[in-house]
């Protein structure tokens, strides 16, 4: 605690833009110094495999004059969980939303660079098709105002142009709920309004809904920030289980959470990707000064 305050007093966080070419004096010393990040032991096993599915390549996103994301490059792999961390307004959510072209819905976002899904530029993929392959779960649980069953069935129904029979839908709905670990809790009241579920259940329902589309990549935007610790733990387990079926990208404010569940972590600051590294290394021996400051709680 004392060292933390001292550090804060001595090195006020610079506000200027990070320039990778600019030799930062502390950069060389970085690997030796250990951070104050004392996390619980990582309990998850190392990934069995990892296949590169998506490719973020020199992506910049502008909102009118403001540059929210500045030339970021990242791989997204199936078999792993990728966490995007950083202080508020660092562009991580914008980057996440651009992965299934949701940024296009909000006015004047302009994207340069390219994002590829299985080596195809996503701008060549029709948006609704892309969003079925790359689905998203939001910060605030947002089940639709319908029954639990209809919430999942909605995704399946609106994908086909023909009306689907309930018999056809049922097994698919059940399996989606099972994958999200919600089936046992709601199997007796699938007809109940989804908004009557608890917050954690609602969020798992949203995950189930996102899984029902049989996506290849699952985007999670701070999925636990509105939830209590118990529900958070359940969802974290779920995310780790899912990483082999889909590539998982999670944006989180919670460093502990990133450390617990992510295999790779990308730290963003003011639109820049400061560091991309395996979770253990990024948290324990960060390569960049700013990363160390952030993960040790000096700012953010």
């Amino acid at each position: 605690m004392e060292s933390l305050t001292r550090q804060h007093a001595q090195v006020p966080p610079p506000i200027r833009r990070l320039d990778p070419q600019d030799p930062t004096p502390a950069a060389e010393a970085a690997p030796e110094r250990s951070t104050n990040f004392v996390a619980a032991k990582r309990s998850i096993a190392a990934p069995q495999f990892s296949i590169r599915r998506m490719e973020v390549d020199k992506v910049s996103i502008h909102y009118d004059a403001k540059e929210a994301v500045k030339s970021v490059s990242l791989p997204i792999r199936q078999g792993e969980v990728l966490a995007l961390i950083g202080p508020s307004g660092c562009g991580k959510t914008t980057l996440l939303r651009s992965l299934n072209r949701l940024t296009e819905l909000t006015a004047a976002a302009k994207l340069t660079g390219s994002i590829r899904l299985d080596d195809v530029d996503i701008r060549l993929i029709e948006p609704t098709l892309l969003r079925r392959r790359v689905t998203m779960v939001f910060q605030q649980p947002n089940p639709f105002p319908m029954s639990v069953f209809d919430n999942i069935a909605y995704v399946l129904r609106e994908q086909g142009s023909r009306r689907m029979k309930k018999k056809v839908l049922e097994p698919q709905v059940h399996s989606a709920l099972q994958r999200a670990g919600l089936f046992e809790e709601v199997k007796d009241n699938l007809k109940h309004p989804a908004l009557k579920l608890s917050g954690g259940q609602q969020q798992r329902l949203c995950i189930a809904r996102a899984l029902a589309a049989e996506p290849e990549v699952l985007l999670l935007d701070e999925p636990c920030s509105a939830l209590d610790p118990q529900s958070t733990a359940v969802i974290e387990d779920l995310i780790v289980k899912l990483r082999e079926d889909v590539a998982v990208v999670i944006v989180t404010h919670n460093l502990q959470q990133a450390y617990r569940i992510a295999d790779h972590v990308a730290f963003m600051y003011l639109g820049d990707l400061v560091e991309y590294n395996s979770a253990t290394r990024l948290f324990n021996t960060p390569a960049q000064d700013r990363t160390r400051e952030y993960v040790s709680g000096a700012f953010g």
């Binding site: 299934n100 949701l102 819905l105 948006p127 609704t128 098709l129 892309l130 969003r131 079925r132 392959r133 689905t135 998203m136 939001f138 605030q140 947002n142 639709f144 105002p145 319908m146 029954s147 909605y154 995704v155 609106e158 994908q159 309004p193 989804a194 908004l195 009557k196 949203c206 809904r209 996102a210 589309a213």
Partner: protein, 330 residues
């Protein structure tokens, strides 16, 4: 002395006092509504009492009945109350029902368009247009209907053979069900649009975004999620529109044909060209007979029936909203 009193016991306009004052005003308004209901039913009671359930049924020519009723006050042979309102009720159902159904459809499409799909320039024109259409006085709609729409229907839409086919029963001039429904739709739809757009644009963005993020296109998202979530407001708007449609009097008095005739769908398509007269215009048309007590009772009975229907609409709407809120509220 008074200043001292104030500083010790608080300001002269204390909250309690103001609260009571406003409360009294509120009670007065509530009492006024109750008085209205009681007065209308009491005044209309003789008409109901003399006719019983037959009041609502068919039988005879309503216009003649009304004449006999209002003249009976002068003959001295006792008041006559015989009145069978079915043609008027039927006309109200056809005109109000037809226009509410048409405007419900139109209003849904227009509000979806306005909220989600219209480009900025279009929305900037359409929104004031809707507000304008809602604020045009009904008598102007009536005038334009009489001078433009009615002659058009009479001269171009109704063929001579159609006129001849019903010549013995009724003359088709253009004052018709169709004219009434078309103009009433233009009057009622903007009302619904303004309620629907409010509701649609306040649907939680998370729901719409959630649906889009699952790869459902914008059209289906707004209909399946937006319109669905806005259903309570849609019901409320429809109820209001129904109330407005059955209560519209002046425009319909001008356009509907003002003959107490009951258009019969069995006649085929020609029935949309047949004239009729709903309940509310009957009150306006016969209001100069108010000095005759039996006529007054009859008109108040019609008003009571309108009040009762309006109440039924609100109750239905309330029940419908309640059942929908099950899914919306936490």
């Amino acid at each position: 002395m008074e200043e001292e009193f104030q500083s010790q016991y608080g300001p002269r306009w204390s909250d309690q006092r103001v609260g009571r004052l406003l409360g009294a005003l509120v009670c007065a308004v509530v009492a006024l509504l109750l008085a209205l209901i009681v007065v209308v039913f009491i005044q209309g009671w003789p008409s109901f009492a003399h006719n019983g359930l037959a009041w609502f049924g068919p039988g005879g020519n309503v216009d003649e009945q009304l004449n006999v009723i209002s003249q009976s006050a002068e003959t001295g042979a006792g008041y006559v109350y015989t009145f069978h309102a079915w043609p008027l009720i039927w006309s109200t159902i056809l005109i109000a029902g037809g226009s509410v159904i048409l405007s419900l459809g139109a209003a849904l499409f227009i509000s979806v368009f306005l909220v989600e799909f219209a480009p900025t320039w279009m929305a900037r024109i359409l929104a004031p247009v809707v507000r304008f259409l809602a604020s045009v006085p009904s008598v102007i709609y009536g005038l334009l209907g009489v001078l433009v729409l009615v002659p058009f229907i009479g001269n171009h839409l109704i063929s001579e053979s159609q006129k001849a086919s019903v010549a013995g029963v009724i003359s088709l001039t253009g004052y018709s069900l169709m004219a009434a429904v078309v103009v009433l739709t233009i009057m009622v739809a903007p009302l619904m649009v303004s309620i629907f757009t409010d509701a649609l644009s306040s649907v939680k963005p998370g729901w719409l975004e959630g649906s889009l993020a699952l790869g459902v296109n914008r059209w289906r998202t707004i209909w399946k999620i937006g319109v669905r979530a806005a259903r309570p407001a849609i019901v409320a708007g429809t109820v209001l529109a129904c109330a407005r449609a059955i209560g519209e009097s002046v425009m319909l008095a001008m356009l509907s044909g003002s003959t107490a005739f009951a258009p019969n769908p069995i006649d085929g398509l020609i029935f949309v060209f047949e004239p009729s007269r709903p309940l509310a215009p009957t009150i306006v048309k016969s209001s100069d007979q108010l000095s005759s007590p039996p006529a007054k009772a009859t008109l108040f009975a019609i008003a009571a029936f309108l009040l009762f229907s309006a109440a039924i609409f609100s109750l239905t709407g309330w029940a419908a909203r309640r059942s929908m809120n099950k899914y919306l509220a936490r």
